[in-house]
């Protein structure tokens, strides 16, 4: 059985979503299985049209900082979040949505990009996978 990586995506910040998706894609590329658990502000990014809407975790500066970082990322030819997510799914990565977050924030399944989500669950699903994972992160 391949080794597993399990990541909780709690932050909705753009830079942290990059970290989560880059690590997840790297793990898949190196032959691991990967599950991403989207919860709290992270789950906001799975709303329709929401992937790119997060602020920078530092120096957001009312959007100016984010704009500058995006310019620099484009210059460095960094892949978009949308592309990283499409690659993640193509390489067989799993996405789980936290149901409690959906209750708290009033998010309905139809508000989310349901085509990307493999399952809806709670902490038990995360622990069941995390305890068998070689790598587990909270981002």
């Amino acid at each position: 059985m391949p080794e597993k990586t399990t990541i909780v995506v709690q932050s909705g910040d753009m830079d942290k979503l990059y970290s989560a998706l880059i690590i997840a894609n790297g793990a898949l590329a190196m032959g691991m299985e990967v599950s991403l658990y989207f919860t709290f502000w992270g789950l906001e990014r799975l709303k329709k049209g929401g992937l790119d809407k997060g602020p920078l975790s530092k120096m957001h500066l009312l959007g100016l900082g984010k704009w500058m970082v995006k310019q620099r990322m484009a210059k460095a030819k960094v892949a978009s979040l949308e592309r990283l997510l499409a690659d993640y799914k193509e390489l067989g990565g799993k996405i789980l949505a936290c149901e409690m977050t959906m209750d708290i924030m009033g998010i309905r399944r139809e508000d989310l990009r349901e085509d990307l989500i493999d399952d809806y669950g709670a902490v038990g699903s995360y622990i069941a996978e995390a305890r068998q994972s070689a790598v587990t992160l909270f981002i």
Partner: protein, 73 residues
């Protein structure tokens, strides 16, 4: 047996690794995948991925900023 080319020149982390993996998934056992790239870290990391996937690394040639890697699926 086919030879599959992957051109990731100008691409940065994690694209060279991801495109290599995508090509390997599409390839048949015995096929050779040739990756051409310019991202320095990937020159080290694609061979690490080949090892993790237990695939045969045929060659790594060129400089850190212009390299060719060949892997047999």
């Amino acid at each position: 047996m086919a030879e599959i080319k992957v051109d990731v020149r100008g691409e940065t982390c994690p694209v060279p690794l991801v495109e290599t993996r995508k090509a390997l998934r599409r390839a048949a056992p015995g096929d050779v995948i040739e990756i051409v790239g310019t991202h320095p870290a990937s020159k080290k990391e694609i061979p690490m991925a080949a090892e993790a996937l237990r695939l045969e690394l045929l060659s790594v040639e060129g400089e850190d900023t212009a390299w060719v890697i060949r892997i047999r699926r």
